[in-house]
């Protein structure tokens, strides 16, 4: 409709039935305005359904599993041997394997990620930032299977030069590479928290004669502390859930050990191992995937909630 005709047609409609008063009634309630909110809500509801799906699936299958294997035995058993008799489902070896990988990964990722974040947020000129940040983003986007290849074909041979007694599959190599994988995450989340610290606080400290290091460590890091802790917790959770690197490089021998030079198995690698074989539905082995998956889900879920709580609860007001 072109501009000039619009007032004319409106005037015609308005004047005929109600004299000189305007009518503010909507001639046609648009269909889109009634239907769209509902459709959009349904889209959002998919995410709730996903969560419900995850929880219900894990619960029902795990329930069947725990009727065969008492939950106490599952949680405290020190031997995981689902294939070779005597069959035994004690999750501690898988948990310890996962923990070993996670601890190694965090020892690598948290200091390096945090130091990079401090450098990028407090020291680096913007030209360096413009180059380094996309590189870190690319590093974060490298598929985990590629990291697995990297661990197996480059990192492990290098480590075996230092530790000749180490096997081809070992926790150290996988843990280091998982750590490298999560460096970008620690770095970018910590940097976000640091750049949220207002400029004026830094100026206040510089004006008292602080060096850059003192501003970074005594003003910026304490002020951004909650965000930094949250990034560390998320990194921990991410390392626990990492699958392909450990499947490829850490081996498939569940054992209770703290020796990083040995081959171990994580919860995630076990799940992959079972699903590679064609396990019949309803078997104990099939059920064990869900029991292990449930354990994994609960741990990472709690850690993620913790991270959000830390980030919110201890947020500094500037």
């Amino acid at each position: 409709m072109s501009m000039p005709t619009l007032p004319a047609s409106k005037a015609k409609r308005g004047r005929t039935d109600a004299g000189s008063t305007y009518s503010f009634k909507n001639e046609k309630k648009s269909l889109a305005d009634t239907v769209m909110p509902l459709l959009l809500f349904l889209c959002a509801a998919v995410s709730i359904l996903t969560t419900i799906g995850i929880v219900v699936t894990l619960l029902t299958e795990t329930y069947h599993f725990f009727r065969e294997i008492p939950i106490f035995e599952f949680l405290t058993g020190r031997k995981w041997s689902p294939l070779i008799p005597p069959v035994s489902y004690g999750i501690l070896p898988l948990l310890s394997g996962t923990l070993l990988i996670t601890v190694i990964a965090c020892i690598v990722a948290i200091p390096i990620g945090l130091a990079s974040a401090i450098y990028l947020s407090e020291y680096a000129p913007s030209s360096v930032r413009r180059v380094v940040k996309p590189i870190l983003e690319v590093l974060a986007g490298v598929p985990t299977i590629v990291y697995g290849y990297f661990a197996l074909t480059l990192v492990t041979p290098l480590l075996r030069e230092i530790f000749p007694q180490m096997g081809v599959f070992n926790a150290l190599s996988a843990g280091i590479v998982v750590g490298i994988m999560i460096i970008p995450m620690v770095c970018s989340l910590s940097e976000d928290a640091m750049s949220a610290v207002p400029r004026s606080l830094r100026d206040g400290a510089y004006a008292l004669g602080a060096t850059r290091l003192e501003v970074a460590l005594r003003i910026v890091v304490p002020a951004a502390f909650s965000g930094i802790v949250a990034s560390a917790v998320l990194a921990f959770s991410r390392a626990i859930g990492e699958t392909m690197i450990v499947t490829v490089a850490a081996g498939s021998t569940p054992k209770l050990t703290a020796n990083p030079l040995e081959s171990i198995q994580t919860m995630t690698a076990y799940i992959v191992q079972v699903s590679l074989g064609d396990t019949p539905r309803g078997s104990l082995e099939y059920g064990s995937i869900f029991a292990v998956g449930m354990t994994l889900f609960v741990i990472t879920f709690l850690l993620n909630i913790l991270a959000q709580y830390v980030a919110r609860r201890f947020r500094e007001e500037y």
């Binding site: 959009l40 809500f41 959002a44 299958e61 590629v146 480059l154």
Partner: protein, 291 residues
């Protein structure tokens, strides 16, 4: 005279040395990421260079390394992308619009929001378990292309929702008000004033989510995309394989020839991902300039 001299020079010199030393340490830490990325790329290129030949793209997987290629895997990844992209785009952007523009500020909304950020942190293999139980078994889609694509859609949804929400939130309030002031209704305002402004940002997020899905292995191993696929899938219920799974398959073999194949496959996969990332960065830069 002397105004600036009476301070404790030694103490300050010590602090400056510490600042300098730590500065170097921070630079070193930052370069770890850069160096590793270089090492990784060089390692893979050296290993895979000899196998980067037409056969890699023309041949189906084979027991014999000399004849193996990843044709079915490349096509499988492509098909999965084609099914997943529109589905996750509609669902993800729809949810983001609902949460940003329509959702009342109540408990349910907060719950959905919390739920989405929590889902983003769920390990990908758990989505594989979900896909296995729901799509493969309960819905009896079997180990099919459709089951894989649906599983991956659920996996990337939280990522798309969060990034789309950010893009929508970045549209200035004044633009909405201008539209309302001209007599537009809610949906008209959303569709014609908000979404066009937010679109580049949304698209960037969707591309990044897709590149995440292309590289994802674990959930598809779970739902059994592992089968040895020497044909191209014809319909949605055919079995399939994708690039990362083919690569995993080759890595898992002890022979050196298969390692080379794996490296060549990784080069192809990384090239695809870098292209997608590059597109996303271009879009974002364009978007940032326009504000």
């Amino acid at each position: 005279m002397g105004v600036l001299q009476d301070a404790n020079r030694k103490q300050i010199a010590g602090r400056r040395r510490l600042d300098f030393a730590l500065h170097l340490l921070f630079v070193a830490a930052t370069s770890v990421g850069v160096v590793v990325l270089m090492a990784l790329l060089v390692d893979i290129l050296i290993d895979g260079a000899s196998r980067l030949q037409p056969d890699l793209f023309n041949q189906y997987p084979s027991r014999r390394a000399s004849q193996a290629g990843m044709k079915s895997a490349i096509v499988g990844s492509l098909y999965m992308l084609v099914i997943m992209a529109p589905l996750s785009f509609v669902l993800g952007v729809g949810a983001a619009i609902y949460l940003e523009e329509y959702a009342p500020k109540n408990r349910l909304t907060r719950l959905i929001q919390l739920n989405i950020s929590t889902l983003a942190g769920v390990p990908s293999i758990v989505y594989g378990i979900l896909g296995l139980a729901i799509f493969v078994r309960a819905m009896q889609l079997d180990r099919s292309l459709l089951a894989g694509a649906l599983t991956m859609t659920l996996l990337v949804l939280p990522i798309i929702i969060v990034s789309s929400q950010e893009a929508i939130r970045a549209v200035p309030r004044s633009r909405r008000e201008a539209s309302f002031a001209l007599g537009a209704n809610k949906w008209q305002t959303v569709a014609r004033a908000v979404l066009p402004s937010a679109f580049p940002g949304i698209l960037t997020g969707v591309i990044l989510a897709m590149s995440r899905a292309i590289g994802e292995t674990a959930p598809l191993v779970m739902i059994g995309a592992m089968t040895y696929v020497a044909f191209l899938p014809n319909d949605l219920l055919d079995s399939f394989t994708v690039m990362p799974i083919q690569i995993y398959n080759w890595i898992a073999r002890p022979q050196a020839e298969f390692r080379e194949l794996a490296a060549a496959g990784i080069v192809v996969l990384l090239a695809v991902l870098l292209l997608m990332n590059f597109a996303a960065i271009l879009l974002r830069n364009k978007y940032n300039k326009k504000v």
